[in-house]
């Protein structure tokens, strides 16, 4: 059933994202080509130079639009799940966690797509295709960094889902309550992070004080600090995953115990 949900989720969101991305790609290719021919002629044709600057600005804004659409498309889908769309989707014989999973997976995939797409379009725009490829020795660090980024994206989505699910308890002003809940949850999260950081600093300084972080020597020289760095990154990932799990559990609780379709 999760596979089926994912199929419909990607189909529904792809209908919006892909045409926008295609348009932006064409705009960026066009701008890149035009820049190549016009960039050295702005002295002779000042208006052409100005038009090119505006076109570049439009291309940059379009990249931000794609990024925003890729992230918010699943937020909108989740919000609609708790509204009219839920009359069909939540009446399907599917456990609530699968609905959340489908939205998180699809949202994370589109956000990653948006980031990669923007990078490619940025390269087309500037004509700079020098992507740095990480060394094989750095694989472990890159792998954990990718995991952290994915967990952060999923967390950002779950943060909005939780706010929407909370607002779903109310019969009116759901959008307003969702936005307010988003900021309240964010503030609570920041306070929790602050307290955690305080205790880590208070009790963990004696472990950290033995490590030399200066000059990023631990990356360049692969000295004894590498396992510690990896461990630290894994701890960070575990903490993010823990917060994600907490937000998921709360969202699922609202969807199972307090479901209240408008």
């Amino acid at each position: 059933m999760l596979t089926n949900l994912l199929k419909y989720e990607f189909k529904a969101t792809g209908r919006v994202v892909l045409p926008i991305a295609s348009g932006v790609l064409v705009l960026n290719i066009f701008t890149g080509i035009l820049s190549h021919f016009i960039q050295n002629t702005s002295d002779r044709f000042p208006l052409a130079g100005l038009a090119l600057v505006l076109l570049n600005l439009a291309a940059l804004v379009s990249l931000l639009v794609v990024l925003a659409v890729c992230f918010f498309i699943e937020v909108q889908q989740f919000y609609r799940l708790l509204g009219d769309r839920g009359y069909l989707m939540l009446a399907l014989p599917v456990q609530p966690w699968k609905h959340i999973a489908a939205k998180v997976i699809c949202g994370t995939a589109w956000t990653v797509f948006g980031m990669l797409f923007s990078s490619v379009c940025g390269a087309l725009l500037t004509g700079d295709f020098a992507f740095s490829v990480p060394h094989a020795e750095d694989f472990a660090i890159w792998a954990v960094m990718v995991l952290i980024v994915l967990a952060l994206i999923a967390g950002a989505l779950l943060h909005t889902y939780l706010a929407c699910a909370f607002a779903g308890q109310f019969t009116q002003q759901r959008m307003l309550i969702s936005i307010a809940a988003y900021f309240v949850i964010g503030f609570a999260g920041q306070m929790a992070a602050l307290v955690t950081a305080f205790f880590v600093a208070l009790y963990g300084y004696k472990y950290f004080s033995n490590i030399n972080f200066i000059g990023a020597s631990f990356i360049l020289n692969y000295d004894n600090s590498l396992p510690f760095l990896l461990l630290s990154m894994l701890v960070v990932f575990a903490l993010i995953a823990l917060v994600d799990a907490l937000m998921w559990a709360l969202t699922q609780w609202f969807m199972t115990k307090r479901l209240n379709l408008a």
């Binding site: 419909y8 009446a91 014989p93 019969t171 199972t256």
Partner: protein
Amino acid sequence: MDAIYEVHGLTKRYGRTTALNGAEFSVTPGKLVGLLGPNGSGKTTLLKISAGLLTPTAGSVLVNKTPVGVYTKAVTSYLPDRMALPTEFTAADAVSLYNDFFPDFDKAKADAMLADLRIQAHDKIGAMSKGTQEKMQLCLTMSRAAKLYLLDEPLGGVDPAARDYILQTILHNYSEDAALVLSTHLIGDIEKVLDEVIFLQNGKALRQAAVDELREETGMSVDAYFREVYKC
């Protein structure tokens, strides 16, 4: 015969407003039951809770002796009182969605019903008229071989000709061993096909009776009895 649909002490409060207040009744298979009541009597809330779209404040709903959950959703075919199909979907997408998620969905039956309505597979739901959208949603709901059908105001907001089509679709497509509960205000139109009626008032099941018995006892049609009971 064992009940397929049981409602026990069902209560739902929205803040200070009580939509359902200890509703209690049961429905046996093979019955076509009318859920009748004025606006705000709790019909939609009751059906939403039974379809798993709303959490009750107290009480329970059992479908085939099972509390509302994934199993009951698999054996209950629910028609909401609003358009729930995604408007960006084509007719084929909607049929495919039902086919993928409901094991009891009969695709051939759905295709035949949509062909009767002259709906093409590539037709966008958003481009259909409101009446056609409602008919399409009903066709999909009735193309399932469910144990329980819950239809919320299937006759509301459509013209008399469409009403006839909807009634015929309901009558010809629900299996005899299933129970069908439909809520409506338009009692005159459906009275002749109902086996039982449940009257809801202030969130309670005021009365549950066989239509023939009610007519015999009161000497009135169900429509007339409804007007008498809910007289303002």
